[in-house]
Symmetry: C2
Subunit: 339 residues, 2 copies
């Protein structure tokens, strides 16, 4: 019996904000497995801001998503057929299966598929706090922000999959942690549930001056580290209040993904405050992944690292959920449930 | 007999570009020396862009130059009277004597006064290639640019006291080195005398696009390191052509010293090219000074490190020479000859 697979391909490249028209739903038959291959049925698909960059064909750190091919993306699921000795039917696995219900994986390619232990950790968390977003948080924090006890750290997109982990890790290292998020609900969650010392609602302020005034109240001793996910006004306000030798880890600049980036208005501060501003990509620091995973898995299993998910139901909802993610409509990790 | 000292004090703080009115010439008697004190007759005064920052009272890395006190500045000269066991009349010394003909120094304060060997190295070079500017070049290059053989490095203000040393050190480390300077004479000197691979005249281009086109020709393999002295258009053009993992050492941003800094237009490049941008101040890296001095002194004594000086004659010319320095009218290290 032939298994049918449904998948989204990139139909066209967006100019400015993407729309549902940029995606096309295909139905294709799952092919026979060759030796060494595994068929995975996806339980969850991860939606992440980096996907917006891949939809464009301008120069970036990764090659663009090819047109008319399945949208790339992280997945977790279950092995439903195997021609590979290292995987058995029923194994829970994480991989990069893309925006589709099934994927055929060459299991012998290093890193293509990884068994995951779902006894103590929910499968979906391997796309969030113990997956790529959590590891991104860990690596940016340790490699660039280098938080020391007593320092003040600011995190933007603080209720999101990356930002929520950044702040919880920094709290565990003895920092004062200030989140930035959009809306009262997210801010209440960041302070109430995640335990940040404060959270500023960037939507509730008029301009960079007003935001700066709130920031001064929340971070009276100045800011030593900033984990940047958004760019724009938040970056500018934070830079003005950085202490000498402050470190800014640039993980994302979601405010610029759909158009012209907002300039850095005060580059002179880089000199006068001796700042370090550094961009990084999680996949370029593989030697650190094991240490990151160990700490994150222990934290999630013990309930010390908390997270929240927004789950879209069914593959058909992937495009609209992705567009919502770019507008900050999600609350926590954005997933698509496929089973 | 009383020795009279002439000195410039800061009379008022500039708004925008400074003028000669901001300085006032005083005549004061040199006081009697107390035990431990030394009287230095200055042969040369160093004029440096950082002095512009100190004239303002906005928050920066150093406290502002106090009003009605002698302008701060590096000096070299000769001990003409001594009440300190460690210095004898006739010793050549470097220190921070300021914009004046004589200074009384508490010689026992660590670092206040340093004996210099002028047998193989001209006294004035201790204010340039083997002094603070040369050490600034060495530290920014090693600490932040981290040049590797075969990489391409760009240096702005390339004929200046700092930039000229940056480029020559990077050439010695096997880099392709591109200078940026203002005017054909300076560019000819940078390639002809200093041995840079190319030098771009920023005054000869219309805008950042035109400058970028020249830069692509000079650095066909992209840019791995940038030593930033000016900010503005040059920084923007360089950032657009940085290779992955490029490093930018921010030493100065002279284009912004008299007014609003020019924004960084493309902060998204920090992420997509995984750039590191870091500001530094030479005086905060004292443990590196000895290694820097050793290499710079050997290079200057052997004629391997070349430099050029613009020398104003007499203390009276210090203000006009300083204003010229801020406009790039000097060629190489700007000094004032006092003897």
């Amino acid at each position: 019996m032939t298994t049918m697979n449904r998948r989204f391909v990139l139909a066209s490249r967006p100019t400015g904000a993407p729309s549902e028209d940029n995606f096309r739903l295909d139905r294709v038959a799952v092919p026979e497995l060759a030796p060494g291959q595994v068929l995975v049925r996806h339980h969850y698909l991860s939606l992440d801001p980096y996907m917006r960059g891949r939809m464009s064909d301008q120069k970036s750190y990764a090659p663009p998503q090819p047109l008319n091919e399945v949208m790339l993306g992280g997945t977790v699921g279950e092995v439903v057929a195997s021609q590979a000795a290292s995987f058995a039917v029923g194994d829970h696995v994480s991989g990069a299966g893309g925006w589709q219900e099934y994927s055929v994986v060459n299991a012998e390619v290093p890193g293509a598929l990884r068994k995951i232990d779902t006894a103590q950790i929910p499968m979906a968390a391997y796309l969030g706090a113990v997956g790529m977003p959590g590891i991104t948080a860990w690596i940016g924090l340790h490699l660039i922000c280098e938080p020391k006890p007593g320092e003040t750290l600011v995190v933007s997109a603080a209720s999101g999959a990356v930002g929520s982990v950044v702040g919880q890790l920094a709290k565990a290292r003895g920092c004062r942690v200030i989140g930035v998020a959009g809306g009262k609900d997210k801010c209440d969650y960041v302070t109430g549930e995640l335990g940040f010392d404060a959270c500023l609602d960037y939507k509730a302020v008029r301009d960079v001056e007003a935001f700066g005034a709130e920031l001064r109240k929340a971070a009276p001793a100045g800011i030593d580290g900033y984990f940047e996910n958004v760019g724009g006004m938040v970056l500018e306000a934070v830079m003005r209040q950085m202490n000498a030798f402050g470190r800014i880890a640039v993980c994302g600049m979601i405010s610029s993904y759909n158009g012209t980036p907002q300039p850095i208005a005060r580059p002179d501060l880089i000199l006068t405050a001796r700042l370090k501003i550094q961009g990084f990509i999680v996949s370029e620091h593989l030697p650190l992944w094991a240490a990151a995973r160990t700490e994150l898995a222990a934290g999630v299993a013990a309930g010390a690292i908390k997270y929240r998910e927004t789950i879209a139901d069914g593959l058909d909802r992937a495009p609209s959920a992705f567009l919502g993610l770019l507008q900050g409509k999600n609350f926590g990790k954005q997933l698509v449930k496929l089973v």
